[in-house]
């Protein structure tokens, strides 16, 4: 058996806005992640979800303060990773 030996890159952030990660930001993240060329995931509450799926992201139940890790499979998607981190850091553009 050959084990997949790709090295993933991760960065941490947290949910900053009052409402938590509701449908609108989730679909925006999915949209951003959609431009990645390789796989991209979000981790929270010890669950990993596909960052390109709004529904999958919602199942994280990420309320305000939840620690989030964004994981990409390939260096080439660094810019997507950064955009998603920024989106979290700015509280999804909400007050």
């Amino acid at each position: 058996m050959i084990l997949k030996d790709s090295i993933t890159i991760t960065r941490g952030t947290s949910v900053k806005n009052e409402l938590g990660m509701h449908a609108r930001p989730a679909s925006r993240i999915a949209q951003l992640a959609g431009s990645a060329r390789f796989c991209i995931w979000l981790h929270a509450n010890s669950t990993r979800v596909d960052a390109t799926s709004t529904l999958d992201i919602l199942t994280l139940c990420a309320v305000k303060g939840t620690q989030i890790v964004v994981e990409i499979e390939n260096q080439k998607d660094m810019d997507v990773l950064n955009q998603i981190i920024d989106f979290f850091e700015t509280g999804f553009g909400e007050s």
Partner: protein, 591 residues
């Protein structure tokens, strides 16, 4: 429920509409939205099936984009929901997984989508957070949209359900029923619903036997089980044994012969033995029903329910859209009249995004004329379309759910505005049309003498009048048996209304289900009613009843009936007086 040694199971429900049918079961999806078929596909068909799914999604997305464009941009919350839905159309958990499921399970797109959507919903249902739980609705709505676009895309091919089945459903709303190809259906049974519920009204108008309020049909019936539906007695028999099957086939033949006999005479006028002519009219919902109404011997359209277009479009139709429908109908009916009833609905049913106020008791809520007066532009649009169609055909205008004099005055003000706008726009219309009100709220029956001063005719809507007068929800199987047209309190209200109309010399019609049941006919003739509107399928049997009644005897009987104080006494008296002419019920013991 009584299982027998042969596996035959009988379940008793409520008679929805009379008649017998024997056929194979077809289970409607529990959500009741659509008939979702499951069929395998070959390896070679996989890519075609995936393409079909992709096209359906892109069509659904386009339709949605149009809704977003048309919506008021100031209602940002709505926009948010809609835009989230837009994103969900191509979400991996729905879109991607449906495509995967089509190719791995080798099944059709509808079934794959249903499977994937259920799985996604289950994930959200487990979550405690109420916000996230509510996302189930988003998944539902998006799934429904794709599903209907899948159906639409292959509309013609879906006719392969033509094995003529018996539908088994949890419940069927009029909107659901309109999505189903009814000529493919022999009959239907539902777990919910009572006599006189909308479901049974649909069944009656379609002339198909039905049993409602069964409670446990969905659990006991499997697809393709042989079913006997006895709509006359409210009995469902699952997997009947040979003897039962034989017995019912014989009854079915007799019942059909009896009905054919009635229908042969149905085009002849309805005249009592002593020469009183009654005018029998049809209640319809779709323009397409006109043909059936005429076949059954209806002269006019006594009630045209206008909700369908609103429910179908899921938005408020434009004046021109409404005008075109009304024009088509009145032209078909010329020179006979069409009574158009204005919107009788709760607004949120038309546009789920319109209102977030959930009513605990919608039948007592903001519906019908109340909704129209609160949302004047919607009302005026409809009134304008009706007035324009009145320039082409013979129209009477009917306002539902009037409960007081003030409402009529407000309606007249709205009519004046509509007329004024039409004048300003130089449109051709006719304002000289009779204006009537439904008498279906007890307060209206009680105030009938005053209401009569303001209108040209009354139309007694017995379905709601009985429900409100007796405080009975006719869809609730636990109390549905208490919903009785011959209740003395109901008869008094009807008599008050008739007397008020007669005194003032205005027209009076009965347009509820009560008019379609032969046992009530002696009472209605006794009260002096001559204009009856009903589901067209009931017309032949009612005409037959009328021809055997002497109006003078009916009047005398009526005096006696008004002295009784229980439903039982009244019913027994009528059955006793008219037992020779009351119609064959299809499953009479004497057979």
């Amino acid at each position: 429920m009584q299982p027998s040694s042969s596996g035959q199971i009988s379940i008793r429900g409520i008679s929805g509409s009379p008649g017998i049918c024997i056929g194979k079961a077809y289970l409607v999806d529990k959500e009741g939205v659509n008939l979702i078929k499951r069929y395998p596909i070959s390896d070679a068909q996989i890519s075609k099936e995936i393409d079909r799914f992709k096209q359906a999604v892109s069509k659904a997305k386009n339709d949605y984009a149009k809704i977003i464009e048309s919506i008021d941009k100031s209602i940002e919350d709505n926009l948010d929901i809609l835009e989230t839905h837009m994103a969900l159309f191509e979400d991996k958990m729905l879109y991607g997984r449906t495509i995967d499921t089509i190719s791995t399970d080798k099944i059709n797109a509808e079934w794959a989508l249903r499977k994937v959507s259920r799985r996604a919903k289950a994930m959200f249902q487990q979550i405690d957070d109420p916000y996230l739980k509510a996302r189930v609705n988003d998944i539902d709505q998006v799934t429904d949209k794709i599903m209907s676009s899948l159906f639409g895309a292959q509309d013609k091919k879906i006719s392969d359900i033509n094995k003529r089945v018996i539908l088994v459903a949890h419940d069927l709303s009029p909107a659901d029923a309109s999505q189903i190809q009814l000529e493919m259906i022999k009959g239907f049974v539902t777990d919910r619903g009572g006599k006189d519920s909308h479901t049974s009204i649909v069944a009656k108008s379609l002339k198909i036997p039905s049993v409602l309020g069964l409670g446990k049909a969905m659990i006991n019936v499997k697809n393709d089980d042989i079913l006997i539906v006895d709509g006359s007695t409210g009995l469902l028999i699952i997997n009947p044994d040979e003897d039962t099957l034989f017995q019912y086939e014989e009854r079915l033949t007799k019942f059909e012969a009896y009905r054919a006999g009635l229908e042969r005479e149905s085009h002849l006028p309805a005249v009592t033995k002593d020469g009183v002519v009654l005018n029998l009219m049809a209640n319809i919902e779709l323009v397409e029903e006109v043909v059936a109404a005429k076949d059954y011997g209806a002269t006019d359209i006594g009630l045209f329910r206008t909700e369908f277009l609103y429910l179908d479009l899921r938005r408020f139709p434009t004046e021109d859209e409404l005008f075109c429908k009304y024009k088509e109908l009145v032209e078909l009916m010329l020179p006979h009249s069409v009574t158009i009833r204005t919107l009788d609905i709760n607004g949120d049913k038309v546009n789920p995004y319109l209102s977030v106020v959930e009513e605990a008791n919608p039948s007592l809520g903001l519906r019908a004329v109340r909704f129209c007066l609160e949302n004047e532009p919607v009302f005026i649009t409809q009134l304008k379309a009706i007035l324009r169609a009145a320039a082409i055909g013979n129209i009477k205008l009917l306002i539902p759910m009037i409960s007081c004099v003030e409402e009529i005055i407000q309606v007249k003000q709205a009519l004046c505005k509509a007329i004024h706008e039409l004048e300003q726009e130089n449109k051709i219309f006719n304002k000289d049309i009779p204006l009537g009100v439904m008498i279906e709220v007890p307060s209206a029956a009680i105030m009938a003498d005053h209401l009569a001063e303001h209108v040209d005719f009354f139309s007694i809507g017995t379905n709601d009048l009985i429900q409100y007068a007796l405080a009975i929800d006719r869809r609730n199987p636990q109390v549905a048996h208490l919903y009785q047209a011959l209740n003395p309190a109901v008869l008094r209200m009807i008599k008050m209304t008739c007397d008020a109309a007669k005194k003032k010399g205005i027209g009076i019609v009965m347009c509820g289900e009560m008019a379609g049941d032969p046992i009530n006919i002696p009472v209605l003739i006794g009260l002096g009613l001559t204009d009856l509107s009903m589901n067209s399928a009931s017309i032949p049997v009612v005409k037959n009843m009328i021809r055997n009644i002497d109006s003078r005897k009916a009047e005398n009987c009526m005096e006696k009936i008004m002295e009784f104080n229980t439903v039982k006494d009244i019913t027994e008296y009528i059955i006793n007086e008219y037992k020779d002419i009351l119609p064959f019920q299809g499953t009479d013991e004497s057979l």
